[in-house]
């Protein structure tokens, strides 16, 4: 790693002390803490980070270009693979964009099911994000395993619904793909009833833990103004105290019908990110309870909608939702043909990752790993 | 040769090697290593003399050695601290370069 590459990046914040040269370590692309193939070129003075340059793109799959060559429908399964932890919300964001583009109405029942699946996705994503964060902290996987235990139930429910655990490919333009299986809502209700107990368990294990506090409080601090300027969204933004939740801002879908609160942190550090995720899980349980109460009968998909030969009018649309990781948006331009003229994803993982250097400089290397873990990224979405 | 002489010869050898290290090596840390060797040789002498003295119950030599160990540890800490401080300013631990950097 040459220093020239560093110079092209933002100016360093810390002057290295003049003792010896910097230790330059490439963390990744094969490193146990990088969640996949991701590299951080770190320059260390002792164990203090002087410079950090995230290097990504190892997992680039040309998603956007492929989508411009494929039909609108054929891009739907690809969105599953962006953030492979939350295929349901990815589907929804893409569906919202296309529905805006083509002016499609979504039936009531489908709206409810979308909310239910999205909130389940949010819970399992936040749970695993906490698990992975603790994994970085060296908790030998126990919280991760608890998170996966609950996630497994949610994924099983998704499989029953859509046929696949992670690559659900469930939403369609104007609704959802298939009708609910028998007793599905009852099963979801049973799982939702078990969730508070799980969240209590995670909290008992972690929230009061002195070691976790010592490791996370005051570490990886992100200031609200920088967060807003950098376009950070999701729990990371709310942990800095900025009240911005697209569910409240856009009230897309039918979120205006549900009572829920948006938890906000005051410090913007890793502990706040953790706690905001925990509290959001609790709110999501509340939303699920409300949504499950009154799922209306009716069609699950707009019956006028064609499967083949879908050609929206020329125009453009940007559809966005509050994904578990932040604002997930799809920007589409149609030229009237069967495939989008331009297709662009606004990946929350990537944009949240851009402030990694700002959060890490001046910290210990060990905290880099934690800060990186607390951003909660999926490299499938970062690199696309 | 008596047993005492054996120990003393070993101590003398180690002492001489330590002296040679301290006098000939260029690196300041190596000089400290040489000094440590000499101190250790002295300790061996002390212990050997204590053991083969007419009154080992008096513990004098042994005590001397123990105190010497303690003081040597302090010496090592301070000496190495000096070397590190010197290295921070001059980026070298080379003794040949030191006179030139006087001042």
């Amino acid at each position: 790693m040459s220093t020239a590459a560093f110079k092209s990046y933002r100016p360093p914040v810390i002057e290295p002390s003049n003792e010896g040269e910097l230790l330059e370590v490439a963390m990744g692309p094969h490193h146990p803490s990088t969640h996949g193939v991701f590299r951080m070129d770190v320059a260390l003075d002792g164990e203090i980070v002087i410079k950090l340059k995230p290097v990504f793109g190892y997992l680039h799959r040309n998603h956007e270009k492929i989508a411009e060559k494929a039909s609108y429908l054929a891009s739907m399964p690809y969105t599953d693979r962006l953030d492979y932890f939350c295929s349901m919300t990815n589907n929804w964001a893409y569906a919202i964009a296309v529905e805006k583009l083509a002016g499609i109405e979504v039936p009531e029942r489908a709206q409810y099911i979308r909310v239910i699946t999205a909130e389940l996705t949010r819970i399992q994503n936040h749970a695993s994000a906490i698990g992975f964060l603790l994994q970085e902290m060296g908790a030998s996987g126990t919280p991760l395993m608890y998170a996966f235990r609950e996630r497994e139930k949610i994924l099983d429910i998704f499989e029953e619904l859509s046929g696949s655990r992670m690559m659900c490919n469930y939403m369609r333009f104007g609704g959802c793909r298939v009708e609910l299986p028998k007793d599905w809502l009852e099963k979801v209700a049973a799982i939702v009833d078990g969730l508070p107990r799980f969240i209590d368990e995670i909290e008992a294990l972690l929230t009061g833990n002195e070691i976790l506090m010592a490791r996370t409080q005051g570490v990886g601090v992100l200031k609200p103004d920088l967060a807003v300027n950098a376009g950070i969204t999701g729990p990371m933004l709310r942990a800095t105290g900025v009240n911005y939740d697209i569910r409240k801002v856009d009230r897309y879908g039918i979120y205006d019908r549900f009572e829920f609160r948006v938890p906000l942190g005051d410090h913007g550090d890793i502990y706040d990110r953790y706690m905001v995720r925990v509290l959001e899980m609790r709110e999501s349980v509340g939303i699920l309870r409300q949504a499950l109460k009154d799922v209306p009968a009716g069609p699950i998909v707009d019956p006028k909608q064609k499967v083949r030969g879908f050609r929206p009018k020329p125009g453009e649309a940007y559809g966005r939702i509050e994904g578990p990781k932040g604002e997930l948006g799809f920007y589409l331009i149609s030229d009237g043909s069967g495939n989008p003229y331009r297709y662009r994803v606004r990946p929350p993982s990537l944009i949240n990752l851009t402030v990694l250097e700002d959060m890490c400089i001046g910290q210990n290397v060990a905290d880099v790993v934690l800060t990186f873990g607390s951003v909660d990224i999926v490299l499938g979405e970062v690199d696309r | 040769m008596t047993p005492l002489a054996g120990f003393l010869i070993v101590a003398a050898l180690v002492f001489a090697i330590g002296l040679a290290v301290a006098l000939t090596r260029r690196n300041a840390i190596m000089v400290l290593i040489g000094i440590e060797l000499m101190l250790n040789a002295a300790n061996l002498n002390l212990i050997a003399f204590w053991r083969f003295s007419p009154h080992p119950e008096a513990l004098t030599g042994m005590m001397f050695a123990l105190f010497s160990i303690a003081v040597a540890a302090a010496e090592a800490a301070v000496g190495l601290g000096l070397v590190i401080a010197y290295h921070r300013h001059t980026k070298t631990t080379d003794l040949d370069a030191m006179p030139r950097m006087k001042g």
Binding site: P32, L134, G138, S140, T142, Y146, Q217, V262, A366, V369 | -
Partner: protein
């Protein structure tokens, strides 16, 4: 001692001692000490790695159970032959030495580690009359030998010529040196009370009973505090969670043994667990009555069985901690050592001295108990509060936006 004259529990208790004497009997008199020592060494070298093997299964199964999974269960009944499979695997794996590594030092590091740790067992009493060398300065011997493990860790990290290895080794060495101080200091209370550095005497001093309860040091305020401090320092000394950052895989891949594979890696693994067991063994010796039974009516069970049961319990505790806690950061670890552990151990020394001089008069017994416990508790709470506040740590409340 005549074997025939003993009762059955006593016979069982002294079984291994008599086996040793029986084997020694085959040799001429001036060979006997050597043979006896050899038999003891063979016994230790055979039994502790066996417990190590057992511990690895136990650890993996226990962790699995804590994490709602099964753990290894494919090799043999309940997976108990897993270590055999692991051993065969590590023996047959290619031994990779990095090109730029320092071959000799790279090879010597695991050997030195295992040898040094085995040496530590020499003064560990694993049963009544069962200690390899009953030397006067047994405890000092253990600490002296334990100090040389640090060097082997440095050797491993430095010779690998890998930044992660080196960082891991430096962390490990710095951590072990820092925690050696509280480890020694917390052990000294037991030495003070016994008036001897001999491990055998320390155990014997705790072997009495009041009613059915034993006179273990852990049942006194200073003993309890010393025990807790000893356990914390021992965790750090053996690089176990929550102090396992020298090998924290999320930061340093595998720390100082990143570049080790095959049998050398197995040696490191063995060394680490042997170190854990020896330090647990000394913790038991110092505070938990060594090979003594926990209740007087359980005295019929052989002393060595008690020792190994206690050892197993200690290992289970280590595993339990590993399953629960995340790890600290390097600077926090050091802060903890110097700002919390050291003052607490120093205070504990004073409390122990006070305990000794307050005397054991019938009227003053409960008074000194309350006094010592109160001082320690007060110091613990106060110091903990101050440290937490200084780091601005604490529970937080969160606001909601509607």
């Amino acid at each position: 001692m005549n074997f025939q004259a003993l009762t059955l529990p006593e016979k069982l208790d002294q079984l291994f001692v008599f086996v040793q004497h029986w084997i020694m009997g085959f040799f001429p008199a001036h060979w006997q000490p050597l043979v006896g020592a050899l038999v003891g060494v063979v016994g230790i070298v055979a039994s502790f790695p066996a417990i190590f093997a057992l511990t690895t299964v136990l650890e993996r199964k226990g962790l699995g159970r804590m994490q709602n999974r099964l753990g290894p269960n494919r090799v043999g009944p309940l997976g108990i032959f897993q270590p055999v499979a692991d051993g065969i695997k590590s023996l047959t794996k290619e031994d990779i030495v990095p090109v730029s590594a320092d071959g000799v030092v790279h090879f010597l590091a695991p050997v030195v580690l295992v040898v040094a740790i085995f040496l530590g067992y020499a003064s560990l009493p694993i049963g009544r009359n069962m200690v390899l060398v009953n030397i006067d300065a047994g405890l000092l011997f253990f600490f002296a030998v334990g100090a040389s493990t640090e060097l082997s860790i440095f050797m491993a990290g430095w010779s690998s010529r890998n930044k992660y290895s080196l960082l891991g080794a430096m962390r490990a060495v710095a951590q072990m040196i820092s925690y050696e101080v509280p480890l020694l200091m917390s052990a000294i209370v037991a030495v003070m009370m016994t008036g001897s550095l001999s491990t055998v005497k320390i155990v014997e001093a705790q072997s009495g009973f009041t009613g059915i309860f034993p006179h273990w040091y852990v049942f006194t305020p200073w003993g309890f505090a010393g025990f807790v401090l000893f356990v914390i320092a021992a965790l750090a000394e053996t690089n176990r969670t929550p102090f396992d950052l020298p090998e924290g895989e999320s930061e340093l891949v595998a720390g100082y043994f990143t570049e080790y594979s095959g049998f050398k890696f197995a040696l490191f693994f063995l060394g680490e667990y042997l170190g854990m067991m020896s330090i647990a063994g000394f913790g038991i010796t110092l505070f938990l009555g060594g090979w003594g039974a926990p209740f007087s009516f359980l005295n019929f069970i052989p002393s060595w069985a008690w020792f190994f049961l206690k050892l197993l319990a200690a290992l289970c505790f280590f595993i339990w901690l590993r399953g629960t806690l995340p790890r600290l950061r390097q600077d926090q670890l050091m802060n903890f050592a110097w700002k919390f552990m050291l003052p607490m151990t120093l205070l504990n020394l004073m409390v122990a001295a006070a305990w000794r001089f307050l005397g054991d008069s019938a009227t003053g017994a409960w008074l000194r108990w309350v006094l010592c416990a109160g001082v320690l508790l007060l110091a613990y709470v106060g110091l903990g509060r101050v440290l937490m506040r200084k780091q601005r740590l604490g529970a937080r409340s969160y606001r909601y936006a509607e």
